[in-house]
């Protein structure tokens, strides 16, 4: 047993007994067109002018980046390499408000960036590719997970490696040109992947696939002291892997959504400031109009109402088994999930 897993296990033993999670069952209301590649991680771009015309971005680690509308129809494909994880943040580029989309690319160990214009068109940023490894951090091997973060100090790219390293870069721009500067790094004991930043809460969450979920302060000025959110096995993560992580925050309740791949479910943890997040519910996406969600990898969520189909926002989960031996993403109406959650 390595030291991190042992530490997680000890923390788990020391955790007070809490209520068992609710078992929620919902069905998908839409699914994206399948890909014969290998879908991995989604990100939701909310169209500020017309939220019903928002987009699902889907990283395919054999092909590139797909964009789908909220019915699941593919509206764009950017064959930009073996993209593993994808995330986005609003950004000012050349004096214009756009959305910056970052991905981890396995072909060359790079972070690559796209720009979404306010009308939803997607293009490559310049420079497009940035090395993920740094000479300041020896031993990084095999780029893997990726996320973005934002605080008063700026916008950040977070990238992790199968070696366990997590690197935090500050993203700046000058006359439309992106530049990245390493501001902090740390390491977990075993292979991480899923990450997300709770910008408002000031936290970064990192999933260590076989071990559990860690929380760190977001600020690069803070020491990366880990806080155990959950350790495998637990009620919400009965077995590995933990995969994608996301946030659903409607202003009343804040939920950490974690992909519990080993049991084909999304685990919901209630976030309350610096408290240890409570595991409240396990969401199963069952067979309905669309097939069930299995072996889910990445996921994303938003609380922004996205038109009548998603009045309380949206949960998107990768689905490993689809008709025609394809993979893709399922879209769930958050209102269906919220109906089963404690008020």
């Amino acid at each position: 047993m390595n030291s991190t897993i042992k530490a997680l296990a000890l923390c788990l033993l020391a955790t007070p007994v809490i209520a068992d999670p609710l078992a929620l069952k919902v069905t998908a209301v839409a699914e994206t067109e399948g890909t014969s590649g290998d879908a991995d991680d989604p990100a939701i771009w909310v169209n500020p002018a017309d939220p019903a015309k928002s987009l699902i971005l889907g990283a395919d680690k054999e092909a590139g980046l797909f964009a789908y509308d909220l019915t699941g129809k593919q509206v764009a494909f950017l064959p930009d390499g073996r993209l593993n994880n994808v995330d986005l943040r609003p950004f000012t580029l050349g004096g214009r408000a756009v959305t910056l989309v970052g991905s981890s690319r396995r072909d060359d160990g790079a972070m690559v960036f796209h720009v979404i214009e306010p009308d939803g068109t997607i293009r490559q940023a310049t420079p497009f590719a940035h090395p993920a490894a740094s000479a300041e951090v020896p031993g990084t091997t095999h780029i893997y997970g990726f996320a973005m973060a934002q605080d008063a100090g700026g916008t950040y790219a977070l990238v992790n490696f199968k070696s366990g390293h997590v690197l935090q870069y500050r993203i700046t721009e000058n006359d439309g040109q992106l530049a990245l500067t390493l501001v902090r790094h740390w390491k977990v004991a075993t292979q991480p992947e899923g990450m997300f930043a709770d910008d408002a809460g000031g936290h970064i969450y990192v999933g260590e696939e076989d071990a559990g979920i860690w929380r760190y302060p977001l600020s690069p000025d803070a020491a990366p002291e880990p806080f155990v959110v959950d350790a495998i096995p637990s009620a919400c993560l009965p077995r590995d892997d933990v995969e994608g992580l996301a946030l659903h925050d409607d202003g009343r309740a804040r939920w950490l959504v974690a992909s519990a791949q080993g049991v084909d479910r999304a685990a919901l943890y209630r976030l309350r400031g610096e408290d240890k997040p409570d595991c409240v519910a396990m969401v199963e996406v069952a067979e309905g109009v669309f097939d069930r969600v299995t072996e889910t990898d990445g996921l994303d969520a938003t609380a922004t109402p996205l038109g009548p189909a998603f009045p309380q926002g949206l949960l998107v989960m990768m689905d490993d088994q689809n008709a025609g031996f394809t993979t893709g993403f399922k879209l769930m109406n958050w209102a269906d999930i919220a109906a089963g959650l404690p008020k």
Partner: protein, 208 residues
């Protein structure tokens, strides 16, 4: 206790899954006793994690429901910038009895090129073992309206007889094509498995 219930249902998963994998028109009445030859084929008879298999695709060209049947070699870093052939996979995607099923059988050795064929490898647990040893992991994936199967089953004992492994080496010594053929008899707990295969290879992977 909901947690306990979930744990028990996980343990019991094979019992309620759509388990059996039986191809139509099977002609073999007993598992084969030897490799079935160079014609691309896959025969899997026995049980894997308690799930019954009577899969008889004795001539892949005429087998029904096949979406993909492909082999893949995997190379690991060797000494002096070379690559060693440490792994191969036999993968089938096919619709069987109306269910889309993905099966994958993966074998490892420190370097398969170190052995003259035919060669028999004793199956055991160690990864990338040296000498005439190998291991086997069987991966099963399918879903129905009622259940999902997602098994990765290792820990087999028995024998892999590798009969053919052909193809054209490139300048790095890597082989992206050709055929891999072999015969397996294996047991694992209550499982017994007999398997014959000859699979065309379409790609390789470098595990760097």
């Amino acid at each position: 206790m909901r947690h306990l219930t979930l744990a028990l249902s996980l343990l019991a998963a094979p019992a309620f899954a759509a388990d059996a994998t039986v191809t139509p028109g099977n002609t073999l009445t007993a598992p084969p006793a030897e490799w079935l030859g160079e014609v691309p084929h896959l025969v899997v008879m026995g049980t894997i994690n308690g799930r019954a298999f009577d899969l008889q695709m004795t001539d892949m060209a005429s087998a029904a429901g096949v979406a993909e049947f492909a082999g893949k070699r995997e190379y690991l870093p060797g000494e002096g910038g070379t690559w060693r052939y440490g792994d191969f996979e036999v993968a089938l995607k096919a619709t069987i009895d109306g269910v889309e099923k993905a099966l994958e059988f993966e074998f490892e050795n420190h370097d398969f090129t170190a052995h003259s064929l035919p060669a028999s490898f004793a199956l055991q647990d160690k990864e990338f073992p040296e000498g005439l040893l190998s291991n086997l992991e069987a991966q099963l994936e399918w879903e129905t309206a009622e259940a999902t199967v997602n098994d990765e089953i290792a820990g087999w004992t028995g024998t892999l007889t590798l009969t053919t492994d052909s193809g054209t080496r490139d300048e790095k010594g890597l082989v992206p094509d050709g055929m891999i053929g072999g015969f397996v008899t294996a047991t694992r707990g209550g499982d017994t498995l007999v398997m014959s295969f000859t699979v065309p290879v379409a790609e390789y992977e470098l595990d760097d």
